[in-house]
Symmetry: C2
């Protein structure tokens, strides 16, 4: 295993912020996810790092840091309302910053507690903002289970297209559709055409759906004309968030030929406020599974060495639904699926290599979505399209006797993520939670 694990991953490490040491905490000292927040009553945004139930202002810690690289990274957070300046510094700077923050927050550190206390804010008393100014947004299609399930609805006998096992299929999305968890998602209007109608109508979408995805954020940019090899791909990866790729299936099915989805996706894309750094994920990185017998090998430029240092991430993602009636009756959310990015057919390293293989550049702040993450089992389907087989088998909601083919106004969709591995402290990804608003009048 060529993974670089360091002291920040040590399972015995504990923080003097006691809430970080609770079993099952999302943000133990081994995680230190990044966010941008506005303190209560304040009007300027700060870059911060999550620790237990608190968020720590990074820039305020700069004077306490002894490593010049870490200090300059912390200074890049000064007066910054996004993480982009920090992201652009590359992995060494982020690693140095993480090491210093880990040291300052560790239970062994006694000298700077007062200054640090002043820079801590309870998470439930800050406003979490969009963490990254998204440069470009690309969405992949990396789950073979999702591609098969979605394809089967159109082509029962040949669900996977011939290019799937060669090309990490992707399309450019609309970067300004990306907004942070909590921002309202309004049901879009669009052209809808039912098979039994001769012409489309312009109306609110009826087949509104979510898609469970991961967002990979690019830190160090790549150069125009210089493809990034699979082996070097992670050097450009800053971190990951939960992502919900809201989709209007009825708009999509009418508009998408021949140039792909457009208005069916461009109305909203939600990301969690917490960016889990590539380094925090080191213990949970995992090679993509061996391809089934009979599948072609990837072309040489996409060959992942199946080394854990490249591949994908072992993160389990739950999708939860709470309807308006469930909230009114105090019913707890119903889990719709539980899938894992370790089941992706194409690794994140392969996505980076493919994206740059024609010579195009990656920029700091680029967001590469994984595509819907579905597993092979019925309880691991990352969209209602798959769960209800295109709406034909509605989902039963036990607590309220409701049914759902697609999302209704007032439905709240929430994703949660967690990485676990024997011998390591489990880390959480926070959540990405949004409620569907009715279409405009």
């Amino acid at each position: 295993m060529s993974l670089q694990l360091n002291a920040t991953h040590a399972p015995e490490l504990r923080s003097w912020v006691e809430s970080a040491n609770q079993p099952g905490a999302d943000f133990p000292i081994q995680n230190l996810p990044l966010a941008v927040f506005r303190p209560q009553g304040g009007n300027t945004a700060c870059c911060g790092v999550g620790i237990g139930d608190q968020v720590l202002e990074i820039a305020a810690c700069a004077p306490l840091m002894s490593d010049p690289l870490a200090r300059s990274a912390a200074q890049a957070c000064e007066a910054a309302d996004t993480l982009n300046a920090l992201m652009a510094l590359g992995p060494e700077a982020m690693s140095a910053l993480r090491a210093e923050l880990s040291s300052l927050l560790s239970a062994n550190q006694k000298t700077h507690r007062e200054a640090l206390q002043r820079a801590l804010h309870p998470i439930d008393r800050v406003e979490l903002l969009q963490p990254v100014r998204v440069a470009g947004y690309t969405d992949f299609f990396a789950s073979v289970h999702h591609a098969t399930n979605a394809g089967r609805l159109f082509r029962p006998d040949a669900p996977l297209l011939p290019n799937y096992k060669y090309v990490p299929v992707a399309y450019s999305g609309r970067a300004n559709s990306v907004r942070v968890s909590g921002a309202p998602v309004q049901r879009p209007w669009g052209q809808l055409k039912r098979p039994d109608q001769a012409a489309p109508v312009f109306a609110p979408a009826q087949r509104l759906d979510f898609e469970v995805e991961l967002a990979m954020y690019i830190g160090a940019p790549s150069r125009l004309g210089s493809p990034v090899a699979v082996a070097n791909a992670w050097g450009h990866v800053f971190g990951f968030s939960l992502l919900n790729d809201w989709s209007a299936r009825d708009i999509q099915s009418w508009e998408y030929q021949p140039l792909g989805p457009f208005l069916a996706k461009s109305f909203a894309t939600s990301v969690a406020p917490w960016v889990i750094t590539a380094e925090a994920l080191a213990p949970f990185r995992q090679a993509v599974a061996a391809r089934p017998e009979g599948d072609p090998a990837p072309l040489p430029h996409l060959l992942d060495t199946n080394d854990q240092a490249h591949g994908t991430v072992n993160v389990e993602i739950e999708a939860l639904l709470r309807t308006e009636r469930m909230r009114a009756t105090g019913a707890s959310a119903q889990r719709l699926s539980r899938s894992n990015a370790s089941t992706l057919y194409w690794s994140f390293a392969q996505m980076v290599a493919h994206h740059t293989s024609n010579g195009s550049a990656l920029d700091t702040g680029d967001l590469l979505g994984s595509g819907t993450i579905s597993g092979s089992s019925a309880d691991a389907l990352g969209s209602l399209l798959e769960i209800t087989r295109g709406g034909s088998e509605p989902l039963a909601i036990a607590a309220t006797q409701e049914q759902r083919s697609f999302l209704q106004d007032g439905d709240e969709v929430s994703f949660r993520g967690r990485c676990s591995r024997e011998g390591f402290i489990s880390i959480g990804w926070g959540h990405c939670t949004n409620t569907v608003l009715a279409a405009s009048a």
Copy 2:
């Protein structure tokens, strides 16, 4: 006609910059296109306006302006290396700036000539830079002739898909692929699969093509959740440039299903350095042609009133080819096509309305491409794909006895644009010219 023509369009208006008064000049005083340039020997970029064979620094003119709105617009150009800040001010500010610049450059104006002379630079002695920092890039498919010609290669009996006459089909492109005319365009590598091969290979694209398009730049942004009506669309349009949507047909045909083109387009998109303002184009705006009998009317939210104030632009665009051998032998460029944006099936106003119809926002600096502009005749085809019928009927190059199915290394492709109308001074669009470099080793 509800077009707003004003004194800046008057055909009798002449400039004291004599080269602007030459018949057939691209940049008479009625044009005043915008650009960003670096003066010879200088290292800072300036926003400028073209006049004859000169470019005038806009910020330097601010102290000479009496209208406060114009002066603040000129001040938005100070220390700006893109036009974005000016664009964000909206059409009234741009109109006021244009009126002042027209007045300062007019032959009747005598008092400020010395100060203005100091702010003038010969165009052939400056470096023209990328004028707009592109926020999002959307590419439409608005020419029915192109859609039909391209579709016929795949579906001879049903070239147009059923959605075409209802949906102004578009996809999101890669914004960082947009670079200014003159920047090298390197032949991309990619996955290519010939019909007679069982598997793809990774190799330099063999079917490299150009596409004649217009770029429409968004000035005043629109708000999330607030669709822009056709009648209000031009209020968000800052201006237009020539655009070459470079395309690798062999990468595209293998990758594009089911999510549309990606690496086939993301390696390069070229724009001319000159932005022709919406106001300069007022005399040349034109309703889209009446739909042929039997075509459905657009849905109500896309109904263009066929008023000249909305529609499209009467601009003729020539595409020219000069191979390496032609340059070596001194042969002049061969014209490949001459098409006109007045033949588009969907107007620019309809594109804006469609883009925002699901509630998504337009940002200052968004680039909306028209899609390939082809006309109905054989000499009005805006891509080699169409000219050579998918490569099956190579183009003969008379001067050198060469042939082209698709572009070869060293080929120079140049677009030129011109608006003409009886009773008005004709204006030129400059050119967009790039040479194909060999693929990387």
